[in-house]
């Protein structure tokens, strides 16, 4: 990176960390758990909205999504289709209830409704799932940055972890919210800039309209697919139904999000924050995927590498596969140049309305696409032959390769700051929530109920440092995960269905005992893990299946574990 890039990166990150600590320290004297965990319940709707969006949009979103669009088109946007309806449902049901019960964590509610063991189970599932997801959200950008920039991955993980723990420990939820506001500003500025630049960088003879037609012809504008196919990962139906349950569980029961909107000054502010997220999330994800599609068009005229992860291809140097790889690269380059020429003929034919020329160019482009795909597959096979552990999916390296090689000085530093900011904004919420749940639902509830407020805050700070350390440790050992944005959603989908089922049982199965729900949840988790191991069902469906299974099983085993009016009661309505 150029010196200017380093200055932009360092000053951006320093400002975020130091200013967040300063702003939150002003209010930290005599802080109570209410202050530390929910920032004293003083957040306005826009703070809630920004915090909710920043928590969900980790660095994986910005590194992996454009690459996802480059490789697979924009269809991933469908996985967010369930979000707006989920926000409405949570506004109607969850927000008023959480505020009314005056809870600090989502799992406190479960003890009021069921019993301690159900609360402990749900909190434990959250701690397990969220800690893995947090480790992925730190590891993911770190490994990509380390490969693209030549940095040591352990140092990158360590830097992100230290920065996050610093301000999260210092100011709790208030510091996290302040930092997220600045981080979202950096992210928005960076992504809007790269969006304009990727289009501006197209050849002068290729207009924006030409670019749209090229992307559409290449199958990148597959944003909505109404077919119903359980084995197709991304369709309108899997996104709407499976995605609805994923988002309901994530926003309704995951403490890392519940804590964000419980910080709202009132039911009104919390609701407005979530509703704003409901309206903005899909356009935001669509915009990021669109950048990926335009990046694809850019590379149609700028000869992409046969494989974007240079650290993997470098392993072939000096081996018996090197010569063959170089030959494949050369053929790839030649075919890409021919394809560029054919694309120019195609766009010219579109402008002039010459259908014969258009058909001929289209046939040429189809065959060159096949050739390029075959060459790339052969290159990936070589990488695997050389090293069976080689990561042959380069989706996560496409965007940053474009940033490093084709953006102007200064903007590179800003985009690297975007990656760090996104990673920190998610990780801070996650670590904050892990610490809060650990102390409130596990430590204080099971072991030390009579701590003073000051002592509780101190112990929560300690837990924040501990969880930061654990997650940095986990992240160091994360292996290759394929597309990272898929990995993090898959980890969530393995657990969210059951957790949502527990909460829905609490709301709507009034005469079901905590033990029945507890048993149902354990069986459901086992079933979901089996489905993941032995079937090809798209992972988004696990959320719906898991949720329905908990409810059905809870009803089925209820006769064995009857509801008792003396021990359990429905939450106040």
């Amino acid at each position: 990176m150029h010196l200017l890039d380093w200055i932009v990166l360092a000053s951006t990150l320093s400002f975020v960390v130091l200013w967040s600590i300063r702003k939150s320290r002003l209010a930290s004297k005599g802080a109570t758990m209410h202050d530390f965990v929910l920032s004293g319940r003083e957040a306005k709707w826009y703070t809630v909205a920004i915090s909710v969006m920043a928590t969900q949009a980790s660095a994986i979103t910005f590194i992996s999504l454009p690459g996802q669009a480059y490789v697979d088109g924009m269809r991933f946007v469908q996985s967010y289709l369930g979000l707006p309806l989920a926000m409405v449902l949570l506004c109607v049901v969850a927000i008023p209830m959480y505020h009314r019960l005056n809870v600090l964590t989502a799992y406190e509610f479960l003890e009021k409704r069921f019993d301690l063991k159900t609360r402990t189970l749900a909190a434990s599932l959250f701690l397990l799932q969220r800690s893995l997801a947090a480790a992925i959200s730190i590891y993911a950008p770190s490994i990509v940055l380390s490969i693209i920039m030549g940095w040591n991955v352990s140092y990158v993980i360590f830097v992100i972890g230290v920065l996050v723990v610093l301000y999260t420990t210092s100011g709790g939820t208030r510091a996290v919210s302040w930092a997220q506001s600045y981080q979202m500003a950096i992210i928005t500025l960076g992504m809007v800039s790269v969006g304009f630049l990727v289009v501006w960088s197209l050849p002068k003879d290729i207009s924006f309209s030409d670019a749209l037609h090229v992307a559409a012809f290449s199958g990148k504008f597959n944003a909505v697919d109404f077919t119903f196919d359980l084995n197709n990962k991304y369709t309108f139906w899997s996104g709407l139904l499976g995605g609805l349950f994923l988002q309901l569980s994530y926003f309704g029961t995951d403490q890392s999000q519940v804590q964000r909107y419980l910080s709202g000054e009132s039911v009104t502010q919390s609701r407005l924050g979530l509703l704003f997220n409901g309206m903005m999330k899909i356009p935001m994800q669509f915009g990021i995927l669109f950048i990926g599609a335009m990046m694809f068009v850019f590379y149609q005229f700028s000869t992409p590498p046969i494989f974007f992860n240079q650290s993997e291809t470098a392993k072939l140097t000096g081996t018996r596969y090197e010569a063959e790889y170089k030959q494949l690269s050369s053929q790839y380059e030649q075919t890409s140049v021919q394809r560029s020429a054919a694309l120019r003929s195609y766009t010219q034919a579109l402008r002039t309305g010459d259908n014969a020329s258009k058909e001929a160019s289209a046939a040429n482009l189809e065959s060159s696409a096949q050739v390029l795909s075959t060459l790339k597959s052969k290159a990936q096979a070589l990488l695997k032959q050389n090293d069976p552990k080689a990561v042959t999916n380069d989706t996560n390296y496409i965007f940053l390769t474009f940033v490093i090689n084709h953006l102007p000085i200064g903007l590179v530093g800003l985009l690297i700051a975007v990656v760090f900011s996104a990673s920190m904004s998610s990780a801070s919420s996650e670590i904050n929530a892990l610490a809060s749940t650990t102390i409130i639902d596990i430590y204080k509830r099971l072991f030390q109920g009579s701590l003073t407020e000051a002592r509780s805050v101190w112990v929560t700070r300690l837990a924040t440092v501990a969880w930061g350390t654990i997650i940095v440790g986990f992240a160091q050992f994360m292996g290759s995960l394929g597309s990272l944005i898929e990995a993090v959603n898959k980890v969530g989908s393995l657990f969210y269905g059951a957790i949502l089922g527990i909460f829905l049982a609490a709301f709507y199965l009034k005469r079901t005992s905590g033990t029945a729900v507890f048993v149902a949840a354990l069986i459901t988790e086992a079933v979901i893990f089996c489905l993941n191991a032995f079937t090809e069902i798209g992972f988004l469906w696990y959320n719906l299946i898991g949720c329905v299974l908990v409810l059905v099983l809870a009803l089925a085993v209820s006769p064995l574990f009857p509801f008792s009016d003396r021990q359990e009661k429905s939450p106040a309505n």
Binding site: L85, V88, T268
Partner: protein, 53 residues
């Protein structure tokens, strides 16, 4: 465990008024969000096909 004093709920409950509107303001908000969602799906569907040639 102890909690702080209850939060302030500043939401006005229009359903208690004798001249309450047919839809509460919250229902209007929910309708807006779902309407925006429907519009986005329509826009994305149009986008998916508008540039095919």
């Amino acid at each position: 465990m102890s909690h702080q004093a209850p939060f302030k709920d500043v939401q006005h409950d229009a359903s208690q008024d004798s001249t309450a509107p047919v839809f509460s303001s919250w229902q209007a908000w929910y309708g807006l969000v779902l309407g925006v969602f429907a519009a986005l799906v329509g826009l994305m569907y149009w986008f998916s096909h508008a540039f095919a040639s």
